[in-house]
């Protein structure tokens, strides 16, 4: 199977050995490993930490920001002000909104929640987001992390490959290794 996310592909040769539903579950398992690495451990695919959130001064719109509802609004909004200035940048905004200052890519939770297997054609699995808006945001975030954010680590690939072997062995009625 070939897994594609933000234009990057991983090729695993399981075609005809596991069912379409198994391929889908294997890919979803890989996506979950990726989400856990990013959100729970703040790591890139090469095992190094994600870049810290920006400290470049920034104005956040009073109506809030985020990749979907509900928008996260800055605290201390004054009447008729269209935005709130944060001299400490996006990092300061996150802290003021009670969000983690260690990068976890979750503000409203929409981006991570909507990441999943989109479609399987033949043995090609397309992972990503429905709608171009989230895809675009993901690509920008990926670029910031040198294409090592929504990518597959060696451990993640090995884990998915091991699970595929388990499935194949089960399908053959053999004891799992």
């Amino acid at each position: 199977m070939i897994i594609t996310i933000t234009g990057k592909t991983v090729n695993m040769s399981f075609k005809d050995l596991v069912s379409l539903e198994d391929i889908r579950m294997l890919a979803e398992h890989g996506v979950t490993l990726m989400k856990a690495r990013i959100t729970l451990r703040s790591l890139k695919a090469d095992g190094t930490p994600l870049k810290p959130y920006s400290t470049k001064p920034i104005s956040i719109p009073s109506r809030g920001v985020g990749t979907g509802s509900p928008l996260v609004r800055p605290t201390g909004v004054k009447k008729k002000k269209k935005s709130v200035f944060f001299p400490g940048g996006y990092l300061q905004f996150r802290a003021s909104a009670g969000r983690s200052t260690t990068k976890d890519l979750i503000l409203s939770g929409n981006l991570m929640r909507r990441l999943r297997v989109k479609i399987i054609v033949g043995n090609a699995v397309y992972v990503g987001w429905m709608g171009s808006k989230h895809e675009l945001i993901a690509q920008q975030l990926d670029t910031q992390e040198n294409q090592l954010l929504f990518a597959w680590s060696d451990e993640e690939i090995d884990d998915v490959a091991d699970r595929a072997v388990d499935m194949i062995m089960r399908g053959l009625g053999e004891p799992e290794p």
Binding site: M25, E28, H29, T32, K35, M112, R113, V117, M130
Partner: protein, 268 residues
């Protein structure tokens, strides 16, 4: 593949789609047919495999929208998708391809559980919820914009209440799309949730741990039904992401005591 072959392939695919559409949509489909012809011309340099890649499937759905199909979504779209998926699969099989078109979002539209959940959360706003979700999922419309439109269509509620309910319903439907493969495969689920100062105490108990479907069903967030789809309740940022057992490091297996703690914290 020559140009004629490519055109024939697309015509076959279009015929398969059209054959799956209920008779009530004839008027919409005459418009759809015209749009589809121009869509086919726009994509005549692509192979069938490329044609079915994500971007092009999405662009085909935009054709549905322009033809006015979304007006019929709540009444007929489920049956359309059901029939069209079968026919598209047959068309692909004729071309030596196998496809899982029922993955994720498309099939959720006809999942009774999603509709029931939307109704239980948003009551009369269920139709607006489904339309908002379809528009944001397939048409790339901002979820914020789609939600705003849905809120405006709901009468008898304050804007704030309508917005919260619709957002919760949309998030639940999204979670169902994400969890679907795990439910079918009998897999477990890792609770993806940040750890910060606004995290509910109940969510903090289960964040980063893996639970079976039975364990998740024993969880009660005290606000909304079906914790798999509503997690910590209104405006929760978490979701359950499918994972295969056994759990391997660095992920952590949750315990039965966590379920009890989750329920206790949710009731506080």
């Amino acid at each position: 593949m020559n140009a004629q072959d490519a055109t024939d392939e697309r015509a076959g695919l279009a015929a398969a789609l059209l054959a799956g559409v209920p008779v009530q949509m004839t008027r919409v489909l005459s418009r759809y047919s015209e749009l589809l012809k121009s869509w086919l011309l726009d994509h005549d340099s692509l192979s069938l495999d490329e044609l079915l890649s994500v971007a092009n499937v999405e662009s085909l759905i935009v054709v549905f929208q322009r033809a006015g199909l979304t007006e019929y979504i709540t009444k007929f779209f489920g049956a359309t998708v059901d029939q069209a998926v079968v026919l598209i699969k047959a068309e692909l099989a004729d071309n030596g391809l196998e496809a899982s078109l029922d993955v994720g979002a498309l099939k959720i539209l006809i999942d009774r559980r999603a509709v029931a959940l939307a109704e239980s959360i948003a009551g009369p706003a269920a139709e607006a919820v489904m339309t908002a979700w379809v528009d944001s999922t397939f048409l790339g419309k901002s979820l914020v914009q789609a939600t705003d439109e849905a809120v405006r269509s709901v009468s008898g509620k304050t804007v704030a209440v309508a917005r919260t309910e619709i957002t919760a319903a949309l998030a639940a439907i999204d979670r169902l799309a994400t969890a679907q493969a795990g439910i079918k495969a009998g897999a477990a689920f890792l609770y993806i949730h940040p750890r910060d100062s606004v995290t509910r105490a109940s969510c903090a108990v289960i964040a980063g741990k893996v639970y079976t479907l039975a364990e998740i069903r024993a969880m009660d967030n005290g606000q909304l039904p079906d914790t798999l789809l509503t997690c910590g309740g209104y405006n929760c940022r978490g979701h359950f992401s499918p994972t295969l057992l056994p759990v391997r490091y660095p992920n952590v297996r949750g315990e039965a005591v966590d379920v009890e703690k989750f329920n206790i914290e949710a009731r506080k």
